[in-house]
Amino acid sequence: MRLPISNFAARPSTVWLGPRSLCSALNSRTGLLTLAISAVLLVVGARAGGPADLAREIDTLVDQHLAEMGATPAARTSDAEFLRRIRLDLTGRIPTLAEVEAFLASEEPQKRIALVEKLLTSPEHARQMQRMLDVWLMRRRPNKHVPQPQWEQYLFDAARANRPWDELTRELLRADGAESAPRPAARFLLDRELKTEETVRDIGRVFLGRDLQCAQCHDHPSFGDYLQRHYHGIAAFLNRAYLFKDPATKLTVIGEKAEGEVKFTSVFTSEQGMVAPRILDLPELFDPPVEDPQGLYVQKPDKKTRGEPTHSRRAMLASAVTDPRNDAFRMNIANRLWAAMMGRGLIEPLDMIHEDSENLHPQLLQRLADDLHQHGYDMRRTLHAITLTDAYQRRSTAAETDPLAAAVMKPLTPEQLAVAALIATGVERRYVEAAKAKLPPQPAWDPDTLQPPLEMSPTAAEQQRRWRLEAEVTKATAGEVAAFAKVFISGNETGAFDATASQALFFRNGAKLTAWLTPRQGSLCERLLAHEQDLSVAVREAYLSIYSRPPTKSEASLAVDFIQGFESDRLAGLQALVRAMLCSAEFRLNH
């Protein structure tokens, strides 16, 4: 159900506007009152141009498109469906049993809006963004020059501070691993060892949405706008840079020479070209004229020191990629954020945007891209807006008519799957309790500054505790998550669904799940076994824990019959039920 537009505009997004009665009034159908209140809110200036407004614009555009296509949008998600989806999308986790029950029981009419806001500022969201950025940027390649924990912390901090994408991009491309930025930022270039093929290819894919690999040796045979000079134009920013192992620090850093050009020859036409640094079709960036050959270097390269030229081509790369004239930069990030939430980019594949790409909604993509640009590449704002839309909150029913008419199912990422299994089986709770016991009730000192807090409000103290608790639990479960996720990680880069026999065997027979299904220390199977006298209660708890929803009547009776099929061996029946549910598509997919 769509709310009337006037109501939608007035949805509070970060400012709490009043008592519950006011919010209920907003939802009432007494038009005059609604209008009056809306007017008041607008006068107050409640977030005009905020995420809610953008959400409304998105819905208008999507609805227009669906009307043109004659497509009927799928129904709105149930609260349980929404809760599981938003939890996975924003925080990489399924909700806990307690959370499901509380959310379903809440009669707060704006509870979805409130939940989105709560999640977006949670440590779990920063964790999910860290993992997403990691895969975007590094595609799960092994660490060479920057250890993974440092890299993860760097991304986590960036996500926590909601650092703008353009700023982050510049830092990643400018970092030399020595001094100009936090060392982990240099991982993007260092761990690709500045190899032209990998580096140029991934700069194209990650920041421009264009996999220019095929344009390395010739203009792309089928995409008119993937040209050899585009590939080599990016290469020209980097061809003077080299890896340098500093004999003093033993660290590998990036040095650069002051000379060197990029030439290329087409293997098809044998045409030759030479290109100065350039991003796609933006103008070439020529070196300044050299008046004094002695002035070429700030630091001349030799065996003991890395070279630092006066004019650094590499340093220009960062600003060239994020140049406002480079439309590809904003289109790419808009398309990626849309895909992260909606399960499919407006253009697919995400790294093959070209002039003839099939675009589900060009106007919408442009709007999202421009909004990102206008709002300083605030990714959280975009995610916030998308998750508020009706388009996002639709059910994942089959929609033959139009890909935008229903939600697209997303396979859980390896980490999401591992964490979901930990939560569902009740094993994570053990780690949470242990971590809580370890944390002092009040923070003795600030973990960032290592200073005692001068004055800290109870709310701030609670906030800090939450962030520390999340960090502790993540650290404590890291081994379990990594061992589980390993089975599900593949190099498939299309985002296509991975399902192999080895993975199925792991789910069906693996020792890890078997251990997690042992009834002990408050695990799911222990709790279910406590209800062996009333199996319908046990089945309900299993459904809430694993599927994040209550069973329907027929599902409940099917499950009860199933357990009874194991006769007196209640535990075996319950474990088999839990295992079958964990092995099912409903658990494997974000739907």
């Binding site: 299309t494 080895s502 099929g565 079958a580 092995c583």
Partner: protein, 397 residues
């Protein structure tokens, strides 16, 4: 010339097996000699030359073709094989060479040959995984590239059963099948009003898992008779398993024989290594032929590169991608042929230079896949084989 060597029996056999053949899908057997087998000590001997090493060349079942004396059994099956002696990969790096040989491309996230075979030669939802790799060590490679993960290799640690093949202790078979039935019911319920592709793909992986579990005797018993014929060493047992997997319908079976990286004591090591390889491989090849499987099975024996002509001071040969050989035979391959040649000393390719891109096209076209066509993957059209190379036509039937 090899074609005439076998022509005598050809018509009779093919009439007898025509019906059977129609039902048989094309399959692949890859034997990967990891580390880089020496071409001098195997397919391209240069006896009596400066860099040729101490071994002699012996005649084979194909008049005119000689191989190194370390391959006496394989020499007797030469009429089933052909050789390419003119491969130049322009790399001496294990990883680069291996991926080039597997993917037909030097760079990029392309699928391995086995994954491509699984996608184009296998059934839509095969009961068993389409690509199995038997190896006793080595890291897991990303073999599916941009193809669906179901085409990735199922890595088998030697002839051991794959991980998690046994039901958890104490879970009875009846409970297993009940659980499996419930899982399917849950999927049906969930899939009622949803699009089927993801759910079906997920379901298929569990069905494959179930098939592997119910056929786990594949990994249990190997007959004493076979162990005598193949050898009871790991490579022998792995090859028995490879035959079984092919018989069970796995589209592509790859067996890795480790240990050819002979930087020191090249000659002693090749006596040992090829001593293991030769009889085992010849037995396997003979079995495939005897069982009528060779007509629909392409057999490939390859390495990531060859070894240097130069013999180093430790009597070793080092990495050499500039002129080495592979052997292939079976489905779609003209038997008993030799393509390309190295110069007299074996220091460079003298005729018909090819690289792994040509081989990739050749294998696929022999198997009946149009390697010049495109993969259609999630909206991308990607040439299956490298468009800059093409098949070695003279090897194709």
């Amino acid at each position: 010339m090899g074609a005439t060597a076998t022509a005598g029996f050809g018509p009779l056999l093919s009439v007898a097996r025509a019906g059977e053949l129609k039902r048989k899908q094309t399959q692949i057997l890859q034997v990967f000699l990891q580390g880089g087998v020496s071409q001098f000590e195997s397919w391209d001997p240069k006896p009596g030359t400066e860099l040729g090493g101490p071994f002699r060349a012996i005649p084979t079942s194909v008049p005119g073709i000689h191989v190194c004396e370390l391959l006496p059994y394989t020499a007797q099956q030469m009429h089933l094989l052909s050789l390419v002696r003119s491969i130049n990969l322009k790399t001496n790096d294990h990883g680069v060479g291996m991926r080039f040989m597997e993917k037909g491309r030097k760079n990029g996230n392309f699928p391995y040959f086995g994954a491509v075979a699984s996608r184009y030669l296998g059934e839509a939802n095969p009961p068993l995984p389409g690509f199995a790799h038997i190896s006793t060590r080595g890291l897991s490679e990303d073999t599916a590239g941009f193809l669906e993960a179901q085409h990735a290799e199922l890595k088998l640690e030697g002839f051991q059963a794959p991980a998690n093949l046994e039901a958890p202790a104490g879970v009875a078979a009846a409970s297993q099948s009940r659980m499996e039935r419930l899982r399917r019911q849950l999927n049906e319920q969930f899939g009622k009003d949803r699009s089927k592709s993801l759910i079906d793909a997920y379901d298929a992986s569990f069905q494959q898992a179930g098939q592997l579990m119910s056929r786990r005797q594949m990994f249990e018993k190997q007959s004493a008779h076979d162990l005598v014929r193949y050898g009871s060493h790991p490579f022998g047992r792995n090859c028995i398993l490879a035959r079984t997997l092919l018989e069970q319908g796995v589209t592509c079976v790859k067996v890795t024989h480790h240990g050819y990286d002979t930087h020191a004591e090249n000659f002693n090591f090749h006596i040992e290594q090829l001593g293991e390889f030769d009889r085992t491989f010849a037995t396997l090849l003979g079995d495939l032929e005897d069982r009528g499987m060779l007509e629909h099975t392409l057999v490939i024996v390859y390495s990531e590169f060859g070894r240097t002509p130069k013999i180093n001071h430790r009597y070793g040969r080092d990495h050499w991608g500039a002129s080495f050989s592979v052997a292939m035979g079976g489905k779609g391959i003209q038997p008993g042929a030799v393509v390309g040649a190295t110069n007299a000393k074996g220091t460079e390719v003298a005729d018909r230079e090819v690289d792994a891109g040509h081989l990739f096209h050749t294998y696929l076209q022999a198997a009946g896949v149009d390697s010049m066509a495109d993969h259609d993957v999630e909206g991308k059209s990607i040439p299956i084989g490298d468009p800059a190379t093409s098949a070695i036509k003279e090897l194709l039937v």
